[in-house]
């Protein structure tokens, strides 16, 4: 994998989006009172769960079942896909309406449902746009930031069969109309879970558009996908994290629709799902939770680290892979997929530490990235060429005579520009510094 800077248009779009979100965040934190104390508290709450996921999960499962819901524990992405597919097939479902879920992207859910004959429609406006375009999200909270209003107009026009005006208002109305039919016809509603509360067995779901509410109100079956670490012990703890989530993500005091779902529809109620299924996904999380990178499991997916990251803002979310991006993605993806498969990601950082400073739950993101780089080297995952190059360099520069010879040679003919093979490609895109005519050590 190689990191490329975005083209000018997408760079401007990414800049505008991240700056807007950052400005919102700065304002919201200034108004939050003792933000640092809140962050400390949030870190403690999340690490309390991460350090003992199993017993928290047991309490949560018991509470969901007491409220009339069913829990499906899944060890792998394949298990989770199969569990959701089975629920849909058992329900005789033809159409599933989805609210935004990064976990569903992680496990590749949509294709698995299409394979068993269930149409899946994304209802978050940004995700719907990307689904029509056949693309992946490039930002975990504002997934379609690289799309222009003209792109969106042509995608939504294709659904209607008539051309739509390229204005955000008109397009949002068109999407509302198109998706309203989906909410009404869908047999199954699929959501993620921003948090799950152990003491009450509640799923907490936040959306600004209200699609999370509709998806869990109109279809007769609700499937909630839950990353096994997204638990909080009590409602009191939830209050702390909700305040941080919206402030860090969009700069809102609270997301417009914050929903707590506790069991399926009850006697006498006229809407809401008859069945509630909570699909708890491990997919590597318990392994991460028992290792040195377990702080990463404290992440609440707010997106703040993406918005402050100089690498994310120039490379865009697509550079990191199809699901998670920015600093949280650069740490999480190698942990989920295996470091040997994701060798480039730990290097997608200047290690400036802006991510760590922005993280509302105080995950030391840039330190974890540095640790991952150390692992790459120590476990021999670094490429052979890289190891040979650094070995040679270490050999040369740890001997005074060889050091003198190499630096003296370096002054002749800008050798970096004359590199052969892969070195030439590396040098081609870079402005190389002029070397001084005389070495410092020669100036006596």
């Amino acid at each position: 994998m190689s990191f490329r800077v975005l083209d000018e248009r997408r760079l401007a779009a990414t800049d505008a989006a991240t700056l807007r979100l950052l400005a919102g965040r700065t304002g919201a934190w200034a108004a939050a009172g003792d933000a640092e104390a809140l962050r400390e508290r949030a870190h403690e709450i999340r690490m309390g769960v991460v350090d003992d996921i199993e017993s928290h999960l047991d309490r949560f499962v018991a509470a969901v079942e007491a409220a009339g819901g069913r829990v499906h524990r899944c060890a792998s992405a394949a298990d989770a896909r199969a569990a959701v597919a089975r629920i849909c097939v058992d329900a005789g479902a033809r159409l599933a309406a989805k609210s935004k879920s990064m976990l569903s992207e992680e496990i590749g859910l949509n294709a698995a449902l299409e394979a068993v004959g269930v149409d899946v429609v994304e209802t978050d406006l940004g995700e719907y746009i990307l689904q029509l375009a056949g693309e992946h999200p490039v930002h975990i909270i504002t997934p379609a930031i690289e799309k222009t209003v003209e792109d969106v107009a042509s995608l939504l026009s294709a659904v209607d069969g008539v051309p739509l005006e390229p204005r955000a208002e008109a397009l949002a109305q068109a999407a509302r109309r198109q998706l309203r039919q989906v909410f009404e016809r869908a047999d199954v509603g699929i959501t993620g879970a921003n948090f799950a509360v152990c003491e009450s067995g509640s799923i907490c779901l936040v959306t600004n558009e209200g699609n999370g509410g509709l998806v869990t109100s109109l279809p007769r079956v609700h499937v909630a996908l839950l990353g096994m670490e997204r638990l909080v012990p009590t409602l009191d703890d939830l209050a702390v994290l909700l305040q941080l989530l919206a402030r860090s993500g969009t700069g809102q005091t609270l997301t417009t629709y914050t929903r707590l779902i506790t069991g399926p529809r009850r006697a006498g109620e006229v809407d809401g799902p008859e069945e509630l299924h909570v699909v708890v996904v491990d997919n590597g999380r318990s392994r991460i939770g028992s290792g040195p990178y377990r702080e990463m499991l404290a992440c609440i997916r707010c997106g703040a680290c993406l918005n402050v990251c100089p690498v994310y803002r120039k490379a865009g979310g697509g550079a990191y892979g199809p699901v998670y991006s920015g600093p949280m993605g650069a740490v999480l993806v190698p942990l989920l997929q295996g470091l040997e498969r994701e060798r480039a990601l730990p290097h997608a950082s200047s290690l400036c530490g802006a991510c760590t400073a922005a993280c509302p739950v105080k995950i030391p993101l840039h330190e974890l990235l540095l640790e991952l780089r150390r692992d790459l080297v120590e476990h021999g995952v670094a490429s052979r060429g890289e190891r040979i190059a650094f070995g040679l360099w270490s050999l040369l520069w740890s001997r005074p005579f060889l050091y003198r010879v190499s630096t003296s040679l370096a002054r002749r003919g800008r050798p970096l520009g004359a590199l052969a093979g892969p070195g030439r490609a590396w040098a081609a895109g870079r402005e190389l510094p002029e070397l001084a005519g005389r070495r410092f050590r020669d100036r006596r």
Binding site: T123, R176, D271
Partner: protein
């Protein structure tokens, strides 16, 4: 108590609610709900699903009106959860303004899936 009312009114207006005192507006086609609680620090209205309060009532219509008794105001989220305690409804919605999205070129639009216009009526005790 009056402090809570003023804080709520200010924050609700900032979140995009039209705040009324005492008298509910008559708007044809609007969904009208009785709020369980109001959260002063965020300006949110809290709706609980029940036989009398369908989940979708505050989402499907273009305009929504929430009726909120002033003595149902709580200071913040923590106080809300203490008040709800062990009696959570099957769905509890904490609503803070109209449905909104900035997914198209970061331009804020309202009324994407839920209502474009939201009212809250503060009813004195």
């Amino acid at each position: 108590m009056s402090d809570l009312v003023e804080t709520f009114a200010q924050n609700a207006a900032a979140a995009g609610f039209v705040v009324h005192r005492g008298v509910a507006p008559a708007i044809a086609g609007a969904g009208v709900s009785r709020a369980l609680y109001g959260v002063a620090s965020t300006g949110s209205v809290v709706l609980g699903a029940s036989p009398d309060e369908p989940r979708s009532r505050h989402l499907l219509p273009e305009v929504h009106v929430a009726l909120l008794r002033e003595d149902a105001l709580v200071a913040d989220l923590a106080a809300l959860f203490r008040a709800v305690g062990g009696a959570l409804p099957s769905a509890l919605a904490i609503v803070t303004g109209p449905s909104r999205s900035a997914d198209i070129e970061q331009r804020l639009v309202v009324g994407v899936h839920g209502p474009r216009e939201v009212h809250v009526v503060l009813e004195p005790r």
